[in-house]
């Protein structure tokens, strides 16, 4: 089963791209409070050069960093029913969507692209935490399903980079159903023996962690990333006690058997290529 053989470059229009945020500004590290010049931070893949803290990396930068020569083609954002519940809390959901789109220049909290990584054809999906907390509604779920379907059609591995506060409440039960739908997407990949690698980044919680994010053939986490099912606040309120140090951090998850490796962002591309090499060089069935 070699998923490299029938790699066909599909014809798809390039989706909208995230606008570059100016790099000529200073940013403050949330961990060590050091002030870092934007260009330096960008050069360092948004890892604090002083303490190693991994700041949030926006989807386009993530894709640039992962694909060979930063070359890739976006998959189309799936067309889905918008605001299916006509949801309104203190403001209405449609306006929230609108401002998220303006802010991020993306249609939704998930974007997928295909291209080469270390020469391997591969589909990479990235969650956008800046888009309503990376929450998973219909569009995100459908995006993941379509990324998997694309990977299957073109016989490629799928790499998903997660970052999410959980389900998109404003889409009610239909957002919950995406837990099942994205799990099904993983099942379809597994049926075809295509590698599915998850990169857990800060934070990955709730319905996203409890579905496709925990089902990788191989699971990588960025250092210190928060990875949780239940929120620490909820747990703290329930047990009325302090939580253990490092609770729900990547290292804690690894200790508890949920994560294969913790990889610094600067090494991520190299490690992924190594895994792709290892998984593609599979045993050729005998006569």
């Amino acid at each position: 089963m070699n998923w490299l053989l029938d790699y066909v470059r599909p014809k798809l229009s390039v989706a909208k791209t995230e606008k570059d945020v100016p790099d000529n500004l200073w940013d403050k590290c949330p961990q060590c409070d050091a002030m870092i010049y934007g260009q330096e931070l960008a050069k360092n893949l948004y890892v604090c050069p002083h303490c190693g803290y991994h700041l949030y990396l926006r989807p386009r930068k993530r894709l640039n960093m992962l694909f060979d020569d930063s070359e890739y083609t976006y998959l189309e954002t799936p067309k889905v029913k918008e605001d299916p519940l006509n949801f309104k809390d203190t403001k209405d959901y449609r306006s929230k969507l609108k401002s998220a789109r303006e802010k991020t220049k993306f249609d939704e909290a998930f974007v997928a692209a295909y291209g080469k990584m270390g020469g391997h054809g591969v589909v990479v999906g990235v969650m956008n935490f800046n888009f309503i907390g990376g929450s998973m509604g219909i569009a995100v779920g459908e995006g993941i399903v379509q990324a998997a379907e694309f990977a299957i059609k073109h016989h490629m591995p799928l790499i998903l980079v997660t970052a999410s506060g959980g389900a998109r409440m404003q889409e009610g039960i239909l957002s919950l159903m995406q837990m099942a739908r994205t799990t099904l997407a993983v099942k379809l990949l597994k049926d075809k023996h295509l590698p599915y690698i998850v990169v857990l980044t800060n934070p990955t919680t709730g319905g996203v962690s409890a579905s496709f994010a925990m089902l990788g053939d191989i699971t990588i986490a960025e250092p210190d990333a928060l990875i949780a099912f239940a929120g620490a606040r909820v747990i703290k309120e329930t047990i009325k006690a302090d939580l253990p140090a490092g609770f729900q951090k990547a290292e804690y998850l690894k200790k508890h058997g949920m994560v294969d490796m913790i990889v610094d962002r600067k090494d991520l591309r190299e490690k992924l290529i190594c895994l792709l090499n290892l998984l593609s060089n599979t045993f050729v069935k005998g006569e």
Binding site: K79, V80, K81, P84, L85, F87, K88, D89, T90, I138, G141, E142, V145, A167, M169, Q170, E171, G172, I173, L174, S175, L176, M177, Q178, M179, A180, R181, T183, L184, V186, K187, L188, G206, G207, S209, A210, S211, F212, A213, M214, L215, I227, A228, F229, A230, G231, V234, I235, T238, I239, L243, P244, F247, Q248, Y252, H256, G257, M258
Partner: protein
């Protein structure tokens, strides 16, 4: 349980009338019986009418309260009434036995089935034993094991859903609550036997969908199924836990909403006044609807059962593609 009646706020007028009927019945001796009988009969009609009026237009929040009603039949009641020779099975073969999910083999209408069911408990002792119906990772891993066992022996699976959600706590996190739920959903898709999920009360978020990646999703008339509790939603979006009624409205979490969305395949009607008043009749009706769907699914091949589930969930929330 059923005799220790608990009334909900909005049932107060009904409760008052029912009390009056009780009073009349208890103080009437043979001489007065005839006079009273007429009045009792009138009052009882009145109660019926009020139940009908109230229960035909329950608000979403009222539905939430009914779905959580302590006298509502629980999974154990369904199993006791519908399943013969129930053989409870236990354990995840790796860490523990979590009784928030009970399961086992039994005969349903003379046919082997595997029951996998969330149980909240009925009194303090049993609530503690069943972890208030909030399963830990070992509970979902037990469920997964039992589903796999059923699949191995070609036995259909019926899951009963009634949970406020998965257990949120340190133990759950350190043993992989997220992984356990995800794997339990995945298990559902791997099955090549009929798999029917029935929301009998509260279908709470990830804890519920873990047992509901099924061929059929059935809901009791006054059950709910939601991505988050109205209280949780209110405190996050309204920053006010007391806004749960607004949240209940907004979330569209009733069986009727879910049927409209195509998530629920059929609504099982409850007798007027709700499952907590008419426990046996409700269970019987649920049994009939489950039997109907089981009969349909049993006509499918193992491969088609799996494909049916895939098709159902792939199509869900998807707009039919053009071209």
């Amino acid at each position: 349980m059923a005799d220790k009646t608990i009334y909900l706020d909005f049932e107060e007028p009904i409760y008052k009338l029912e009390s009056k009927i009780q009073e009349l019945k208890s103080c009437c001796d043979d001489k007065l019986a005839k006079d009273f009988n007429k009045e009792i009969s009138n009052l009882e009609k009145k109660v019926q009418q009020m139940l009908k009026e109230t229960y035909s237009k329950l608000t979403p929040w009222q539905k939430v309260c009914v779905a959580r009603h302590a006298n509502r039949p629980h999974s154990i009641d369904y199993i006791n009434a519908l399943i013969d020779n129930f053989m409870p099975l236990a354990g995840d073969k790796s860490f523990g036995d979590d009784e928030a999910i009970i399961g086992g083999l039994g005969f349903f209408n003379g046919q082997s089935v595997m029951m996998v069911a969330q149980e909240k408990g009925n009194d303090l002792e049993s609530r503690i034993r069943h972890g208030f119906g909030m399963a830990k990772p070992e509970g979902y891993r037990k469920a997964k094991r039992l589903m796999d066992l059923a699949n191995h022996f070609n036995i259909p699976i019926i899951s009963l859903i009634d949970t406020a959600g998965a257990f949120p706590g340190i133990e759950g996190e350190e043993r992989g609550q997220a992984e356990a739920i995800a794997s339990c959903i995945m298990e559902g898709f791997k099955l090549e036997v009929p798999y029917i999920a029935v929301v009998i009360g509260e279908g709470g978020s990830g804890g519920a969908i873990a047992l509901a990646a099924a061929n059929r999703i059935l809901m009791l008339e006054h059950s709910i199924y939601s991505v988050i509790s109205p209280e949780g939603c209110a405190s996050i979006l309204w920053r006010d836990g007391a806004a749960m009624k607004k949240a209940a409205n907004a979330l569209k979490l009733t069986a009727q909403d879910l049927y409209k969305f195509g998530v629920a395949d059929e609504i099982i009607p409850e007798p007027c006044g709700g499952a907590h008043r008419f426990r046996e009749e409700t269970i019987k009706r649920a049994g009939d609807v489950i039997a109907k769907h089981l009969a349909e699914l049993k006509k499918m091949t193992p491969q088609n059962l799996s494909k049916d589930r895939e098709k159902k969930f792939l199509a869900m929330t998807r707009i039919a593609k053009e071209g």
